[in-house]
């Protein structure tokens, strides 16, 4: 099983074998985090540019750490304080960066399809670190790695994804990945935040939190983006928290005792997740973050490690 793609744009593009190659590679690379000297020379002489047009803590930092642990040179670009404020267009900025011969450009942008545009226009490898409401493949991969480590397998697991499904690139990437690995997915949320086409992705839909979390192996809570309230999609944060917030009491009454609670971050404590659930024994939220570095190492290694160069 080889890796032949120039870019990583969407879980939808990958087949089960490619997803497993990424997850397996990431699982093996986790050991580097436990070393005294957290550095291996695999990507020595390679350049990775983080091109971030949207705010990010976890994703950008973990791509940076991943690149550095593999000995790549990592350059961070953020839209604030760059020529973007002088009116340079996205594609012009990207072409200018590509002219400096990076091996991998990691891009996050508010427009769906931004990463695919760069993949078409630029000769280097492109990693989608979140494009609009489209996909966020490395988040799905780290979620999958976390699930497999806790549950031991993928086939037959049932996952509930709860919250703003319509605007969530994390949900979309996870749904594509999980379906390909033989998992069952139920999405749940207020009807205004469930997209109309969602059944076409092969998922079940629930309109009550209690129904969604019964008998599932994993509950993935999504962040409620506050701007959705302004858009009139939910009446108030308080009402959302009352109907869709995961509390300890709801968990105890409706979910299985061995359920995993996941969240892609950042958490709105007291809205979608009660603090005692976020910090509780079911929660693997910080484990997800740690896995993020391993997954991003695997992505960078497979995109930049197996090609180019003269092999010294």
């Amino acid at each position: 099983m080889g890796w032949t793609r120039k870019d990583l744009l969407a879980m939808r593009d990958l087949d089960a074998g490619e997803i497993l190659l990424l997850v397996d590679t990431a699982a093996s690379l986790q050991e580097i985090a436990t070393r005294e000297i957290k550095k291996v020379p695999a990507l020595r002489g390679k350049t990775v540019v983080n091109l971030f047009y949207e705010a990010s803590t976890r994703t950008r930092t973990s791509f940076e750490i991943a690149g550095k642990w593999l000995s790549a040179d990592v350059v961070n670009f953020s839209a604030g304080g760059s020529s973007v404020s002088k009116g340079e267009s996205f594609i012009d900025t990207a072409k200018n960066i590509a002219a400096m011969s990076p091996d991998v450009v990691v891009v996050r942008h508010a427009a769906s399809g931004a990463a695919a545009l760069l993949a078409r226009e630029l000769p280097c490898s492109i990693v989608n670190a979140g494009d609009g409401t489209h996909e966020h493949p490395t988040q799905a991969l780290l979620d999958l790695l976390t699930i497999r480590e806790r549950k031991g397998h993928f086939e037959g697991l049932h996952v509930a994804i709860v919250g703003d499904i319509a605007h969530s690139r994390v949900a979309r990437s996870n749904i594509h990945g999980m379906k390909k690995l033989g998992m069952t997915v139920t999405v749940a949320g207020p009807p205004t935040l469930i997209p109309p086409f969602v059944q076409e992705l092969g998922v079940k839909v629930a309109y009550r939190l209690e129904d969604a979390i019964r008998d599932v192996d994993v509950i993935m809570m999504l962040r409620l983006q506050h701007e959705r309230m302004a858009a009139g999609l939910i009446p108030s944060l308080r009402e959302y928290a009352r109907y869709w917030g995961l509390s300890l009491d709801r968990l105890a009454r409706h979910a299985r005792p061995d359920v995993l609670i996941m969240h892609p971050g950042p958490v709105n404590r007291g809205v979608e997740l009660a603090p005692e659930v976020a910090d509780g024994p079911y929660s693997v939220i910080l484990d997800q973050v740690a896995k993020g570095v391993a997954v991003r190492m695997a992505v960078l290694l497979l995109l930049a490690g197996g090609k180019g160069g003269d092999g010294a």
Partner: protein, 187 residues
């Protein structure tokens, strides 16, 4: 390292099961003799067959000396100098669950050839800590070194031509214990 992608045929058998076992027994004795016993020794096997050989050497030393030596496994993929030429890197992980600081590490590989794998392994080990010494044991030394590296313990020196390959077959992986020389099938 030992099996080429081209179809190949067996040219000669180099070691049979008994000879392979005798070679490992001799190496185990040499390791104990050279180091004056088993104190502070540890084995690190190189994926994949080096690991199996390291476990067999550790078992022999346990039988001779009674010492239970730790055995770690090393994946040197991330340290290869030809990573870019080999297609998809397959990472299977390093697992050395003991501190190598202050230990004499005996690195174990099945076939010693150009020396580049060992060069990568030395870098990988030194990134994990500072051992007192690193020694090298290999079942077959087939020559053609490209780097100034020599083994401390050798099962058998085997002059080969570059177009041949050496296949070490072990019970745990291949269902039999023997070493053969293979050469590419003529077109």
């Amino acid at each position: 390292m030992s099996s080429p992608a081209r179809p190949s045929r067996e040219k000669a058998q180099v070691l049979d099961e008994a000879a392979l076992d005798r070679a490992l027994t001799r190496i185990a004795h040499e390791i104990l003799e050279r180091n004056g016993g088993a104190a502070d020794l540890a084995f690190v096997g190189l994926r994949t067959r080096g690991i199996t050989l390291a476990h067999r050497l550790a078992a022999k030393i346990a039988r001779i000396d009674g010492a239970a030596l730790p055995v770690g496994t090393l994946d040197i993929t991330l340290y290869r100098d030809d990573l870019a030429m080999r297609g998809t890197p397959v990472i299977r992980g390093t697992d050395i669950p003991f501190s190598i600081k202050g230990k004499t590490v005996v690195l174990v590989d099945d076939v010693l050839f150009t020396g580049r794998t060992i060069r990568a392994a030395l870098d990988a080990i030194i990134d994990l800590g500072r051992p007192t010494a690193i020694q090298l044991a290999c079942l077959i030394d087939r020559g053609h070194r490209e780097l100034p590296i020599r083994p401390d313990y050798v099962g058998k020196n085997l002059p080969t031509s570059r177009r041949e390959s050496v296949a070490v077959r072990l019970r745990e992986h291949d269902g039999e214990d023997r070493v053969v020389i293979e050469e590419p099938e003529e077109a």
